[in-house]
């Protein structure tokens, strides 16, 4: 077990090294969601039998506070709300279980899973920068975001947890088959991702000041960084819009963004602790960030306000939900490569199996098959299909609410599960020697420098903008630097991503918060570097290089830290060691440098093709190689990998291939083929 594994040493359920294990046995968490309270109770058993027939090993269950609460502190667990009986039935059927008791569960419920009294209480409403409630326009009712900074919210949630957690604890391993529980759901300020959309609740502002106190230690240190003359932290107000013109102003803004990350980590951690105190302390706890890349969404958007590494210091693992169509292959690759590169256990807590009715342009089964393979290709080790069983406000699941099965859907899902189990995907590891790091400090500046503030909106905000910062919304002032870093950094990351793809270098994605010991699993890291860089990141890069790693960075070397104070640690190291550091402006130089390393790579006759290699840990010669054609055109593919392999069989179809060295296959548009190979 790695030293970073969450305090699970005494537990039988452990998430680490890309596995979820129970009593040292790897679990194949190929599951899906069933909403018991939305089904007739007599349907539970036959529907679970159909789920088993499709090869799923796990049932994932949202549990709605909104539905169970009759009045404050009074709950109904009878009839088709009898979660205890449902859990027992699932156990009898031989499934493992993942539970998701909220408090927020969305689930397309009118009040997002909360009793209305919670949302209607002004003391519990998150506020935007203008001081009004931060309202999410969703179907069938708009709702105000709840402030997860308010103690009263946790007091109310305790009433729910007091009722539900003892029931769950009776079924939690080793008492039963619950192996993991999700803490809350898609907590991203209720999709108010915009930096100034939330949360300016007085309790949040108080926590912000506490955060600054911890960060700076003294008001003098803060004043030095901000260029201000505050007499105490109580005088520090959070920024409510971006107005910076000079770099000295940056820390005030980026601290707010860092605080927004902490807010999410702390609130999820607090809820997790409440769950552990109520008997869920022997299973893995995890969280799901929302899919950041939906239609019209951002290209990146996987760092701030999210902090996967930070949250995994408090929870066992964290993933991103994925609802995507085939045309968004590179979005899927980006976010899932990030999860695989960052998380202990790369899991998709909600993985497309149908969509909600207000999802714009729903895809079809072909989209779901392509995205399924694309996810496995990146190295995902488990998932929960959402939804396995159709219900009110959800369409196109494999099983209808009356138990009828959409056989074409069932065939695809069964095949995906069978291939994953037969090929032992849970015990394979993605082969990659290069780690592309998103630089969180620049992402924070990008997030802070949005010129327009607007709320999240499931029906599309009347601005035409993505809630994630993009070139369309970010300020272009250079802020005293050679160029506006907040714009250039996204372009640099995109260029690095494209350059690595084009060169056929196998890589994963993470961010600069990833612990250094995890960087050391790679031979090289690639990271953007401008005139300033966080002091701790500078030191991590220097240490990585000192340990024998190669650092590709650019376009400039920092001379300042994140507080805009002099810090040339990295610059001095680069100037002293031309071997381990590669300072690049254009990305071609980086590719040249990386190509000189002994790294996993692939060659193909069409750069639109993508390739990923997976290998077992046992040192055997077995390899699984994915080849994707994510384009709208058929491609007569010629593919080879380094080290060379013999291509034996395509796993999805079972078709024998028998090619040595170079694979030659016709790949239709939007297809991924999965090959069993030997080196």
């Amino acid at each position: 077990m790695s030293t970073e594994a969450i305090d699970a040493g005494r537990r039988a359920v452990v998430a680490d090294n890309h596995r979820l294990s129970v009593d040292d046995r790897t679990k194949a968490l190929y599951g899906g969601a069933v909403h018991y309270w939305r089904l007739d109770r007599e349907r539970w058993s036959p529907i679970l039998d159909e789920v088993a027939r499709m090869g799923f090993t796990t049932i994932s269950i949202y549990i709605p506070w909104e539905v169970h609460e009759r009045s404050r502190g009074e709950f109904d667990f009878a009839g088709n709300k009898d979660i205890d009986a449902f859990l027992t039935l699932i156990e009898e059927k031989g499934f493992d279980i993942v539970v998701r008791p909220g408090p927020q569960i969305n689930s397309e419920l009118t009040w997002f899973g909360y009793p209305l009294r919670i949302l209607a209480d002004p003391e519990l409403q998150a506020l935007n920068a203008q001081g009004t409630p931060a309202v999410l326009t969703q179907v069938p009712r708009p709702i105000p975001a709840v402030s997860y900074a308010a103690d009263k919210f946790f007091d109310e949630t305790a009433l729910w947890y007091d009722a539900i957690c003892p029931i769950l604890a009776r079924h939690a391993y080793p008492n039963g088959r619950i192996v993991a529980a999700q803490v809350d759901n898609e907590m991203a300020y209720f999709f108010h991702v915009n930096a100034y959309a939330a949360d300016f609740h007085p309790a949040s502002c108080a926590r912000y000041r506490l955060f600054l106190t911890e960060r700076y230690g003294s008001i003098d240190a803060l004043n030095e960084a901000y260029g201000t003359a505050h007499r105490s932290f109580d005088e520090v107000e959070p920024p409510r819009r971006f107005e910076a013109r000079e770099r000295v102003e940056i820390p005030w803004y980026t601290d707010w963004i860092a605080y927004r990350e902490r807010y999410l980590v702390d609130s999820m951690s607090r809820l997790a602790e409440m769950m552990r105190e109520r008997g869920l302390d022997e299973i893995a706890l995890f969280h799901n960030y929302p899919h950041p890349l939906g239609p019209g969404g951002a290209v990146s958007g996987f760092t701030t306000p999210f902090d996967l590494s930070g949250l995994e210091q408090r929870l066992d693992f964290v993933g991103f939900d994925v609802y995507s169509r085939k045309e968004l292959y590179h979005h899927v690759k980006t976010v899932l490569s990030y999860v695989v590169g960052t998380s202990r256990f790369p899991y998709i807590p909600e993985f497309i199996a149908g969509v909600w009715p207000w999802y714009l342009h729903p895809g079809d089964l072909g989209d779901e098959e392509f995205v399924t393979k694309a996810a496995l290709m990146q190295g995902i080790k488990g998932f929960s299909r959402y939804m396995l069983v159709e219900r009110d406000r959800w369409l196109d699941s494999p099983i209808r609410r009356d138990g009828r099965v959409r056989e074409d859907h069932a065939t695809m899902f069964e095949r995906a599960n069978r291939v994953a189990v037969e090929a032992d995907f849970a015990d394979l590891h993605r082969q990659a020697d290069v780690l592309l790091l998103a630089n969180r400090d620049y992402d924070r500046l990008e997030a802070a420098s949005v010129l327009v503030s607007f709320p999240g909106d499931f029906l599309e905000t009347p601005s035409g903008f993505s809630e994630y910062p993009t070139f369309m919304t970010v300020c272009e002032r250079p802020l005293g630097f050679e160029e506006p870093i907040q714009v250039a950094e996204a372009d640099w990351f995109a260029a690095a991503y494209a350059g690595l793809n084009e060169a056929g270098l196998a890589y994963l994605i993470s961010d600069t918060a990833l612990p250094l010991e995890r960087w050391r699993r790679f031979k090289a890291v690639v990271v953007s570097s401008f005139e300033y860089m966080a002091a701790d990141v500078q030191r991590k890069l220097v240490e990585f290089a000192a340990g024998g790693g190669t650092v590709v960075l650019g376009p400039r070397l920092p001379t300042l830290n994140e507080r805009m104070q002099p810090d040339d640690t990295l610059k001095r190291a680069v100037e002293a060691d031309g071997e381990r550091f590669v300072l690049v402006d254009g990305f071609a130089e980086a590719i040249d440098a990386l190509s000189r390393l002994d790294v996993v790579r692939f060659a193909r006759n069409d750069t639109r093709l993508d390739v990923a290699v997976h290998a077992p840990d046992d040192g055997s010669d077995r390899r699984i190689v994915y080849v994707a054609n994510p384009s709208a055109d058929p491609i007569a593919a010629e593919v080879s990998v380094t080290p060379p392999v013999t291509w034996e069989r395509e796993l999805w179809t079972g078709r024998a291939v028998g090619a040595a060295g170079t694979l030659r296959e016709e790949l239709p548009p939007y297809t991924v083929s999965i090959y069993e190979c030997r080196i």
């Binding site: 009118t110 209305l116 949302l119 209607a120 935007n128 920068a129 203008q130 001081g131 009004t132 409630p133 931060a134 309202v135 326009t137 179907v139 069938p140 009712r141 708009p142 105000p144 819009r241 239609p295 019209g296 149908g354 009715p357 714009l360 342009h361 729903p362 079809d364 159709e390 219900r391 009110d392 406000r393 369409l395 196109d396 209808r400 609410r401 009828r404 010129l451 327009v452 503030s453 607007f454 709320p455 909106d457 029906l459 599309e460 905000t461 009347p462 601005s463 035409g464 903008f465 993505s466 070139f471 369309m472 919304t473 300020c475 272009e476 002032r477």
Partner: protein, 272 residues
């Protein structure tokens, strides 16, 4: 109008996808030039696809003129131009969120959200159409919200169901089932469950089976209207919708069965 707990059950994904394509326009998906300024100082001038922009904007003193000029200069690469003044945007978004009430229906809230754009005629500017009809997710209904809700209230009796069917050739391409509760609020929003239909071809036969299916699954079907995709598009674009319905009926290109007593009278009145 929209119930707080509507049933959206058994939606046919193909019908739903087609309905979305027919009825919805996403500003995010359209090509556009965005100008963001503060008191006239230009902070952002960008094309959504990062294409070159013809024409310069040094200041924004007349946002309407700027939007119109940019649109004219770049008409081949844009669907619209948006000119945002930062403070107006901040105020607008803060204001509409501040109007939230837990007992208010979604459509009322959303309608007010878009209507409020009219109060920022110089702060949130789009061209060629005004912001209220350009930004966000737009419904291609060819009628104002008030007219649509009034038509539903006038035409569909409480505690009944209406079904609209659209044919591509002689196959059902899309459908919409709307059920009203006893208070006249929309309590069912779905499509026909095509897995429960036996007839795949023939407009009359399909319409008859669909209405029978609605009657089995939901409160009494009070309105069934069926037309071709071409005529559905014409209906949505028309400002004389009743007259167009009458014209289609007269030409035998509209299947209207059943029809509530309110609708024939309106049709008659509109064509008399």
């Amino acid at each position: 109008m929209l119930h707080e707990d509507p049933l959206m059950l058994d939606i046919d994904v193909d019908h739903w996808r087609n309905l979305q394509a027919l009825l919805l326009d996403s500003a995010k998906e359209r090509r556009r030039i965005v100008v963001i300024h503060e008191d006239g100082e230009v902070l952002k001038l960008v094309h959504s696809a990062r294409l070159p922009i013809l024409g310069e904007v040094e200041r924004v003193d007349d946002p309407h003129a700027v939007a119109a000029q940019l649109y004219r200069d770049n008409v081949d690469t844009v669907d619209f131009v948006a000119v945002f003044e930062r403070r107006a945007c901040d105020e607008y978004f803060g204001r509409f969120q501040g109007t939230w009430r837990p007992d208010e229906d979604l459509d009322v809230f959303v309608h007010r959200t878009y209507a409020l754009l009219d109060e920022y005629p110089d702060g949130i500017v789009t061209h060629p159409e005004r912001a209220r009809h350009t930004l966000g997710l737009q419904w291609r209904l060819g009628a104002p919200y008030e007219d649509v809700t009034a038509a539903i209230e006038r035409t569909i009796p409480s505690a009944s169901t209406a079904v609209l069917g659209i044919f591509d050739g002689d196959a059902l391409w899309a459908s919409l089932v709307l059920g009203l509760d006893a208070d006249g609020r929309v309590h069912v929003v779905t499509t026909v469950d095509t897995s429960e239909l036996s007839i795949e071809r023939g407009r009359e036969a399909i319409a008859e089976e669909v209405v029978a299916w609605v009657n089995r699954r939901y409160p009494q079907c009070s309105l069934g209207l069926f037309a071709s995709l071409e005529h559905a598009r014409a209906f949505l674009a028309s400002t004389e919708k009743l007259a167009l319905l009458q014209e289609l009926a007269d030409r035998g290109e509209l299947i209207a069965e059943p029809i509530p007593t309110t609708l024939p009278l309106r049709l008659a009145a509109a064509t008399s």
